[in-house]
């Protein structure tokens, strides 16, 4: 009888644990959706509506077409985004990268930019990723103040090399994509 009880308790505990975990995962998900995803969707929807209805879209399209439609333009974009003074300013919340990404998406959808440029474009608009967050990120890794002092310029200068390089790699890797 005791053995049976033990088995039942073990099973019950196991099932309860799994269900509890799944339920908590669902709760976390809904929390994330409401707090992080929906607000940004609202913001992005407004921008897309504005771009599609007003003439702003056509003006942006002209500018973007020259830059995002070919590899040279994308390299220029990546170098600008990687300039050490600019990159920390462009970084916060990846808001700029997300807005530019959305604008590019609209132009790809309209056929202004060929779809195979999507992959290099993803890297071209993002060499500044995390450049605003270096001291905090290093602090999360329990870095010494001296490491932060060296780390901030090291990462910023590294981006100047690896930013354009990532665009080239992505461009090469995009051969055969959507064609």
């Amino acid at each position: 009888m005791d053995g049976l009880n033990k088995v039942l308790v073990t099973i019950g505990r196991g099932v309860g644990g799994v269900v509890g975990t799944l339920y908590q995962a669902g709760r976390d998900t809904i929390d994330t959706i409401i707090r992080n995803i929906l607000p940004f969707m609202a913001f992005i929807s407004f921008i897309i509506g504005l771009v599609l209805v007003t003439g702003i879209g056509d003006v942006i399209a002209q500018g973007i077409k020259g830059l995002a439609g070919n590899i040279v333009g994308l390299l220029i974009v990546s170098v600008v985004c990687a300039i050490p003074v600019l990159s920390p300013l462009l970084g916060p919340g990846a808001v700029i990268a997300q807005v530019v990404g959305t604008l590019l998406g609209v132009e790809i959808g309209k056929g202004t930019i060929p779809p195979q440029m999507a992959l290099p474009a993803l890297f071209a608009i993002n060499p500044q990723v995390g450049c605003d967050f270096i001291p905090v990120g290093l602090a999360l890794g329990e870095a010494e103040p001296e490491t932060v002092e060296v780390g901030v310029p090291a990462v910023l200068f590294s981006r100047l090399i690896t930013g354009p390089l990532s665009v080239v790699i992505a461009y090469v890797a995009s051969f055969g994509l959507y064609s």
Partner: protein, 193 residues
């Protein structure tokens, strides 16, 4: 959903008032269009996202984040064979399991000279991973989703782009880690001199 839609049962207002009314319609059409986009996002990607996030969140909870801490300790070793571990495997697992921004806490297992490079490597992966695993950085999905929306509009599949983004991302963070480690080493040497 549309406010101010034309019923076409009465004549359109003309003159100054007509111009103002036209302006009002134009004004509201911006938000109608935005609303349509919002609705298509809610109906299109959100349901999938909810289920996917729940599944991955559960998986992360079941596996537990303590497992990758051991890898963090291993990645701290010098030697060529640990470069891919430090700047590819560890950032990937850290971003997958700990998500942005807690992924950067894995840097605490590494010696000081590797920390900037690891941060650079990990932070550069928080967007390439969202193509397939959006749970890792739910607040910044639109870098990928924005561009992906255009591909969807053209009626093309996203799997190819998402996978290539993920893989090219791995190559890029590997190179980024090596370059940043090298620059950090040089700056530390100059500082010590």
């Amino acid at each position: 959903m549309n406010i101010f839609t034309n019923a076409e049962t009465v004549a359109e207002p003309t003159g100054v008032w007509g111009a103002i009314a036209g302006g009002a319609e134009y004004f509201i059409s911006i938000f109608n269009r935005g609303g349509e986009v919002f609705f298509s996002l809610m109906g299109g990607i959100l349901p999938t996202l909810v289920v996917l996030l729940t599944a991955v969140n559960a998986l992360v909870r079941i596996i537990g984040t303590d497992k990758i801490e051991n890898l963090g300790r291993k990645a701290a070793q010098p030697g060529l064979q640990w470069y891919p571990v430090r700047y590819m495997v560890l950032p990937f697992l850290a971003v997958f399991f700990l998500t942005n921004p807690m992924a950067y806490t894995m840097g605490r297992f590494l010696p000081e000279r590797y920390k900037p490079a690891f941060y650079d490597s990990a932070v550069s992966y928080v967007h390439p991973i969202t193509g397939l695993f959006p749970h890792a950085n739910p607040g910044e999905l639109f870098v990928y989703l924005g561009i992906a929306a255009g591909i969807t509009t053209l009626g093309l599949g996203l799997g190819d782009l998402a996978l290539r983004y993920l893989l090219v991302g791995l190559v890029v963070i590997f190179i980024r880690g090596i370059v940043t480690e090298w620059i950090t080493a040089r700056m530390l040497a100059r500082k010590a001199a």
